[in-house]
């Protein structure tokens, strides 16, 4: 799968996320507190709510609707009512730009 340019590193505050729509899909791209970047599916697995309005705490993303939580590095559901894991996508950073390998 080709790497797709998503955004610039400084588009995302540290310990925050943004929404990125591409090819009819929606993604969430995260900037972790230790300066790394990650990408997951953009919708919560509980009720398809956009995660971009949620809260990043350390390596967790909390969904804005019912406070379900996921580890955005692995996609693992960490707190009910989120039970199904989030899909994750590989990310690479080159020259201040973030690329996502969209499956």
């Amino acid at each position: 799968m080709p790497w797709t340019l998503a955004c610039a590193t400084d588009d995302i505050d540290e310990e925050d996320l943004i929404r990125w729509d591409h090819g009819g899909q929606t993604f969430a791209i995260y900037h972790s507190p230790d300066g790394e970047f990650f990408a997951t599916a953009g919708l919560c697995t509980h009720e398809n709510v956009h995660l971009c309005d949620g809260l990043v705490m350390g390596h967790l993303i909390e969904c804005p609707k019912h406070n379900g939580q996921f580890d955005y590095r692995t996609g693992e559901a960490k707190r009910a009512p989120a039970c199904a894991n989030l899909k994750t996508y590989p990310v690479k950073v080159e020259g201040g730009r973030i690329f996502v390998e969209v499956a």
């Binding site: 925050d16 949620g54 804005p64 019912h66 009512p81 039970c83």
Partner: protein, 363 residues
């Protein structure tokens, strides 16, 4: 006027799904991301302070109640203990259920489990019913936490001031949960992976009540029941009072929390007991914001909200006539005027679904 059917298997529930109402996007006030991030930030300190005060007061009041028992001088201490047990537990259950009260997850879990027991809600079931209450607030047949079903039944509301209806529902339900897990209705919102937990929690609750009742019988004293169980009745009035105000007399089957929820400014003691849930529109629109940040959120949002009620009494003066009118006409609801700075109510979606909130019902 069309009779509402609150069953999750009834025609209103079916219509809400088929019409797309349940999947509709709710109205949100615009709050800049930076401001919202600041409001959503978690902290342990306010909830640790409040929890120490709460449990400290409970121990103190119960201790004084026991020391003065059986004199009538013990009564005020039991009444104070009862409100903390039977009403403050409602808001602790609520906030810790959202996981926003404390920053540290285990602290939310511990207080949630204790509060669920005190308020007589199976902790494994109610987490899910409350998620539904947030997704589908006051959608008839879909929201399992509708406090005032229409047409309102006055007798039930009055009995519940003493927790009577809730406790009468809880006893057979917890026994059934302990024997066979969640009921058919509960299985509509509790995922199968949690059914075993529903049963385990119920068994623990039943065991604690059994020990309490046996102790009362063995000692020939009411004291064990005054401490565990009965305060859910004699101390329920405060959470019923504030709970009725949350959505009472307002619209149902809408997708704008400004139409179906009420913000009431109230005294600091009630706000402590209620953990700031008087900012109810704000909480429903942004459940990520912890209770201690809701007054700040209110300031940020208030230009987009109907003016809050200035006190509990004023809110009742607004709500009560509406509830009485709903007894005669269940389509009636209060539609509060928005300030000129607010964006209009989101009424463009689905209010014309047959049998659901005809706009002519609003006055």
């Amino acid at each position: 006027m069309i009779k509402r059917n609150y069953s999750p298997f009834g025609p209103d529930a079916q219509r809400a799904v088929e019409s797309g109402l349940t999947a509709a996007e709710w109205y949100h006030t615009d709050v800049p991301r930076k401001v919202m991030k600041d409001l959503m930030a978690r902290s342990d300190q306010p909830a640790i302070r409040d929890t120490i005060i709460l449990y400290g007061c409970m121990i103190l009041f119960a201790g004084l109640g026991i020391a003065l028992w059986p004199s009538w001088w013990s009564a005020p201490f039991w009444l104070a203990y009862g409100v903390l047990y039977g009403s403050a537990s409602d808001s602790r259950w609520h906030e810790c259920g959202h996981g926003t009260a404390f920053k540290t997850p285990w602290m939310n879990t511990v207080v949630y489990e204790i509060a669920s027991f005190m308020i007589m809600r199976n902790s494994a079931t109610w987490r899910w019913s409350h998620a539904r209450h947030h997704s589908e607030t006051y959608l008839v047949g879909r929201d399992p936490e509708i406090a005032i079903m229409r047409p309102p039944e006055l007798a039930k509301l009055v009995l519940n001031v003493f927790g009577i209806i809730d406790v009468l529902k809880f006893i057979p339900l917890i026994l059934r949960n302990a024997i066979s897990g969640p009921t058919v209705e509960e299985r509509t919102f509790v995922p199968q992976s949690e059914w075993g937990k529903v049963r385990r929690v119920a068994i623990i609750y039943v065991a604690i009540y059994a020990v309490t009742i046996l102790s009362a019988v063995a000692w020939g004293s009411l004291l064990p029941l005054l401490l565990i169980g009965l305060p859910r009745m004699y101390g329920a009035w405060h959470h019923v009072m504030t709970g009725l105000l949350q959505h009472g007399g307002l619209a149902d089957n809408v997708i704008d929390h400004r139409l179906n929820s009420r913000t009431v400014l109230m005294n600091p003691i009630s706000r402590f007991i209620y953990w700031n849930m008087n900012y109810h529109v704000e909480h429903h629109m942004f459940p990520m914001v912890p209770y201690h940040a809701l007054p700040r959120l209110h300031e940020v949002m208030k230009a987009d909200l109907p003016p809050p009620n200035r006190s509990i009494a004023e809110a009742f003066r607004e709500m009560w006539p509406a509830i009485r009118r709903q007894m005669m006409n269940e389509d009636y609801f209060l539609r509060r005027t928005l300030p000129p700075t607010a964006r209009p109510y989101r009424e463009d979606f689905r209010q014309y679904v047959p049998g659901m909130m005809p706009t002519s019902a609003a006055e």
